[in-house]
């Protein structure tokens, strides 16, 4: 009994430093955030309002638009990232290491320089007076206001986010595919299997665990998107690029409606949870 207790105490001592941070900055904050969503917080008063904040949100057009935008962001970005990531990785994974390295680094550079830098760069390149529009005009397609036109802004932001994130996906897929036996792939040549068929029917199923991992991490990551929106469009034009996350930010730090912001946060948490749990179940069942 004594030895057991001693081991328990030892373990708790080791865990204590981390646990301290966890309780203070995650557990307590989560609890506080949920609690505050039921209050109206302003300079004068703090009053309990129950579900009022939530009612306000669900009848708020901007919030509903933001929710729609968020779902579009998640669906589109995650989908094209996985499809194109699979395509690129499956095209190069069995090439000479030097080539693979070149590909990995090339696609990863936007990720390394950070979302802030990429957003600024693209803001310049896509400016109506900028380089991309110049070339568009030259080819006779006419200029496009990528970031200022409500029809294009969302897709443009999706594009920028995609370029800044595809690198990680490619690296993960190449790593997963590097374990595939090349002899096995060559063997199917006898049956006249084309490269394309190999990719679809052999390679993609083998890397399924990686796909699930990418799915889970990216869904949450896209929901949390902030930098690209802040620097490219500021949520506009006409809230066409505002997501739930950005709406949280606006409410908390621009409109000063902390209570509503917390409610948005809770809803954001719920959505992230709902979207990722099915993928988790899929991966657990696959084990």
């Amino acid at each position: 009994m004594n030895v057991r207790t001693k081991e328990n105490i030892n373990a708790y001592l080791f865990i204590f430093p981390y646990a301290l941070f966890f309780v203070m900055f995650i557990a307590y904050m989560l609890f506080d955030g949920i609690k505050n969503s039921f209050y109206e917080l302003s300079y004068m008063k703090t009053s309990f309002v129950g579900l009022e904040n939530y009612k306000t949100l669900f009848s708020d057009e901007v919030f509903l638009q933001a929710t729609g935008n968020t779902l579009v962001f998640v669906a589109v970005i995650v989908l094209i990232e996985i499809i194109i990531g699979l395509w690129i990785a499956s095209t190069v994974f069995d090439m000479k290491p030097k080539f693979i390295s070149f590909i990995r680094i090339g696609y990863y550079i936007p990720t390394i320089v950070s979302m802030v830098v990429m957003s600024i760069v693209w803001a310049f390149l896509l400016d109506p007076k900028g380089i991309i529009n110049y070339f568009l005009k030259q080819t006779g397609l006419g200029s496009v206001n990528f970031l200022g036109d409500p029809r294009f802004a969302l897709l443009t932001v999706i594009f920028v986010v995609f370029t800044a994130n595809i690198g990680t996906t490619i690296i993960l897929y190449i790593a997963a595919m590097s374990g595939i036996s090349l002899e096995m792939l060559e063997a199917s040549d006898i049956d006249g299997v084309t490269r394309f068929q190999k990719v679809i029917h052999i390679i993609i199923p083998i890397v399924r665990p990686t796909t699930v991992y990418i799915l889970i991490t990216n869904i949450v990551a896209v929901i949390r998107l902030f930098i690209a929106i802040q620097l490219l469009t500021g949520g506009g034009p006409m809230f066409s690029t505002t997501t739930i996350m950005y709406y949280l930010y606006l409410n908390a730090f621009k409109y000063n409606k902390m209570g509503i912001a917390c409610a948005v946060g809770v809803i954001m948490f719920a959505i992230a949870f709902i979207l990722s749990v099915p993928q988790l179940n899929k991966s657990i069942r696959a084990e």
Partner: protein, 283 residues
């Protein structure tokens, strides 16, 4: 000879493969172009930035932008702040994470499974959900605009702990068991045996946490309201959003924002690739 090889390649691997490879390679080059443009443009004069037809390299390159960034604006200060904040978070994460990982990996204790699930599931919580109470807390502690305030909350992230647990799991128990028979205390075992063996894992964790902290934009934006206490990313973005129409300065600022991480990546490449397979590096 070369022609034959190419034709043979197509016949062997098919048109899909050939076209895919060409497209993928072209894409890789295109991906780097924006950054090449950025760095080349940081040496341009204001007029040359929006000059049409566009020029990639300046006709008469200038260091004025860089001078302005480091002398007038506070680029050096921002760089220092970013480095200190990231170091603070990284060291804190390594210490707390490795200790906790050791306990979960090698020790048996009451509540082990439950606590593990609680810690790890916190990874799935978007940090922004807690940002309002966190902001108020730091304000109350009067830690805004301080390195501490910017660095502290990030240490609570469970990813470091999760990564190290995975790593320590792979360390064999034999040395630990023989040390126990010799009567060593748990802390001794941790400090003298396990820790030295964790060096590769800690190396990868260091890079990962450092980079993640470096790019922790939203929190640093909220914490850094004074120009002198801003981190590099926040400072650079402030330059960009500034009303001052000096485009060359904004571009040069972004270039300064890009360079440190590029350098870090190329120097520590192997830790990056190891770290990505252990956890995740997110842009």
């Amino acid at each position: 000879m070369k022609n034959n090889l190419f034709g043979y390649r197509i016949k062997r691997h098919g048109i899909y493969d050939a076209i895919s490879k060409i497209l993928v390679f072209t894409g890789a080059v295109l991906m780097t172009l924006p950054i090449i443009w950025l760095i080349a443009s940081s040496f341009k004069h204001q007029m040359e930035i929006y000059q049409l037809p566009p020029v990639l390299f300046s006709r008469r390159p200038t260091l004025d932008n860089l001078r302005q960034l480091f002398v007038d604006s506070k680029a050096l200060q921002w760089l220092t702040n970013s480095t200190l904040v990231s170091l603070f978070t990284t060291i804190g994460t390594i210490i707390t994470g490795t200790m906790a990982a050791y306990a979960f990996s090698k020790l048996n204790f009451y509540g082990r499974k439950t606590l593990f699930i609680i810690f790890v599931s916190s990874i799935m919580i978007p940090n922004e959900v807690m940002i309002v109470p966190l902001f108020n807390l730091i304000l109350k502690l009067k830690l805004q605009n301080t390195i501490t305030g910017m660095a502290l909350p990030a240490i609570a992230s469970a990813i470091g702990f999760f990564m190290m647990k995975g790593f320590i799991d792979s360390i064999s128990d034999s040395m630990r068991e023989s040390a126990k028979i010799d009567g060593a205390s748990e802390f001794m075992i941790f400090y003298r045996i396990i820790l030295p063996m964790c060096k590769p894992g800690i190396g990868a964790l260091f890079i990962l946490t450092f980079v993640r902290s470096w790019n922790n934009y939203l929190w640093q934006l909220l914490m850094g309201t004074q120009k002198s206490s801003m981190t590099l990313m926040v400072g650079v973005s402030t330059l960009f959003s500034d009303i001052d129409p000096n485009m060359a300065l904004k571009v040069a600022g972004a270039a300064i924002g890009a360079v440190p991480m590029l350098v870090v990546f190329f120097v520590f490449q192997k830790y990056f690739t190891r770290g990505i397979s252990m956890g995740a590096v997110k842009g």
